[in-house]
């Protein structure tokens, strides 16, 4: 059973969002990292890049496959987690501690449309 954290919001494409005022941290769920296996490459956008909700913003590569990352909420990238880019295994070690990007949300209400921990748990159990 993969780990799900209370207080985060989750998308159907397995990204999580941690809302912090008008900002949000974005990462992938423990379920996603477990499905992918050992992650070998993290491709994230640059600071100031702007994406709409649902838009592709990067990709994770593992020995098995490459998976695109989709914006769970729209916004402008204000920070990129370089530690994860340098050491992709961090995502496998703790998918929630190791966020990928920090954004300034264009519409914080978007986060509310995402699943909460209980709903995501049910979603991944299917």
């Amino acid at each position: 059973m993969s780990k799900v954290i209370e207080g985060l919001r989750y998308s159907e494409s397995h990204e999580w969002v941690k809302v912090d005022g008008e900002f949000a941290f974005i990462g992938v769920s423990d379920f996603a990292q477990a499905e992918m296996g050992d992650i070998t490459y993290v491709d994230v956008p640059s600071v100031d890049d702007e994406f709409a909700k649902g838009e592709e913003f990067g990709a994770l590569e593992s020995v098995k496959a490459s998976s695109d990352l989709y914006m769970p909420v729209g916004g402008v990238v204000v920070e990129v987690n370089d530690a994860v880019v340098d050491a992709p295994e961090l995502v496998n070690q703790d998918a929630y501690e190791n966020w990928l990007i920090k954004i300034q949300m264009s519409d914080p209400a978007e986060a509310e449309g995402l699943m909460d921990a209980a709903a995501y748990n049910e979603f991944t159990a299917k």
Partner: protein
């Protein structure tokens, strides 16, 4: 087999050579700009002829090829490459050709191109082929460029999207992206086939066409293809046929008759030319009548990989019209025979009749118990190596988590296939009783389980002395 893991650089001894040349008459390099001269000699291995011969012979003996044994790699059509192909391609009159020779001195080579063009046209139902593309994905790009040129020539500039099923080979969306097209995904239904109802709303006047592989990546024939062709054509789009899975159709079904307008063939799959590390590929692109004017896309220098084209033509001529018709049915029979023979040991997610290949979703009984993890598809694949078989394709397609995709091709005898089935059953029994035998496999390969993760995270790409 002797274990051998040397690099040729490790055999090097200063001054040792396999040749002897007279001293240069002049060592003057004064006519070359000083900034173009290298400061030190290149680091090349210094070895004798017998060092080189033994080195590469030893390496080749550690390799596995279709000449060594059964190679059921799904989606790859690893059929036997008849030696007559090599014999014809080695004829001095072909070997000595130069692409810039005057036309009237190369009528033999021209006859090869023309002969293969008409043979492939007859097999596929296309009008003409271009032989410039040097691989399957290169063919895809060429075909998409042809589709774009066709729409552009009619002043129809809005068609910038291409529909690709979610079951497609990864090269399809990649080729479309390289061609500057926007990719729209169409979903598969519960039977693993393109969902016509999901397709309908996507069809509008921005669609350049659809890329399909039939039979698809699951080895299933897209039964609704006539309806799909009608819908796409009505919407003004074209149909691209990915020929990667053409083998089971050879001699029976033609993409042209299914309604496809453009296609590529992988000569290194369907037409028995060397595959993988074995040599250059060839991905000729065929088109229907109305697209012939757009066939002249320049995607490689000169005339493509001529010697590969020559091998494919030899293969077709050696088989002859009657035997070409047997390729597809026998490839299909062999795949279905294996599929049915192992379904009590391996999960079969899609039980219907397959074409040339099919997918298992891991072991039915993987031997998992308290404290002992079960045997995975990777473990089964590794264990097969112990019995002298190449592993099937694993963990593809992604649709099934323990995917094991098997494609026997038509060139294997019933005896070889029965032996493979017997080994696969034995491996399944081993897994159920003691999965550790599989966890530790292969037991007698020179390299057992390379650390792929570390290799991907920290690749060492240059020889380090």
């Amino acid at each position: 087999m002797k274990y051998y893991d040397k690099l040729i650089f490790e055999l090097s001894k200063p001054g040792r050579t396999g040749y002897s040349l007279p001293a240069p008459e002049s060592s003057s390099v004064s006519s070359i700009d000083a900034n173009l001269l290298r400061a030190s000699a290149p680091q090349l291995p210094e070895v004798s002829e017998i060092d080189v011969v033994r080195h590469y012979t030893n390496l080749s003996q550690m390799n596995f090829g279709v000449d060594t044994g059964f190679y059921p790699l799904g989606s790859c059509t690893m059929k036997y490459n008849p030696k007559i192909n090599e014999e014809i391609a080695s004829l001095p009159s072909f070997l000595g050709l130069h692409p810039l020779q005057p036309d009237d001195t190369v009528s033999g080579a021209k006859a090869v191109y023309e002969g293969l063009d008409s043979a492939l046209a007859a097999i596929t139902g296309m009008r003409h082929f271009t032989f410039l593309p040097c691989a399957g994905a290169h063919g895809e790009l060429t075909g998409l460029m042809i589709i774009r040129s066709y729409h552009m020539s009619r002043g129809d500039t809005r068609r910038t999207k291409i529909i690709v099923p979610d079951s497609a080979h990864g090269t399809n969306p990649a080729s479309a992206a390289v061609c500057g097209l926007e990719i729209v995904e169409v979903k598969s239904n519960a039977d693993g086939l393109v969902d016509v109802n999901d397709l309908k709303p996507l069809l509008d006047d921005t669609i350049a066409g659809i890329m399909m592989t039939n039979p698809n990546t699951l080895g299933l024939f897209e039964r609704d293809i006539k309806e799909i062709a009608r819908l796409v054509h009505e919407a003004g789009g074209l149909l691209y046929y990915d020929g990667a899975n053409m083998n089971p159709l050879v001699g029976t079904v033609r993409p042209g008759d299914m309604g496809f307008d453009v296609m590529h063939l992988n000569l290194h799959k369907t037409f028995s030319t060397p595959h993988g590390g074995g040599g250059p590929g060839s991905g000729p692109v065929g088109v229907c009548e109305k697209l012939v004017p757009f066939l002249g896309v320049r995607v490689s220098g000169f005339h493509g990989n001529f010697s590969v084209i020559l091998r494919a033509y030899t293969y077709i001529l050696m088989l002859g019209r009657q035997n070409v018709k047997m390729v597809g049915p026998l490839a299909t029979l062999n795949a279905n025979y294996i599929k049915e023979s192992l379904k009590d040991k391996y999960k079969l997610p899609i039980p219907s009749v397959c074409k040339h290949e099919f997918v298992y979703d891991g072991l039915i009984d993987d031997g998992a118990r308290e404290g002992v993890p079960g045997a995975t598809t990777l473990d089964v694949a590794k264990r097969l190596l112990d019995f002298g078989f190449h592993a099937p394709t694993i963990y593809f397609p992604l649709l099934f988590h323990q995917a094991l995709m098997i494609e026997p091709t038509e060139t294997e005898s019933k005896e070889t296939i029965d032996e493979f089935i017997e080994v696969m059953r034995r491996i399944a029994d081993e897994a159920a009783e003691n999965p550790d035998i599989l966890h530790q496999a292969p037991h007698n390969a020179p390299i057992t389980r390379p650390d792929e993760t570390t290799a991907a995270r920290n690749p060492i790409l240059r020889y380090q002395a």
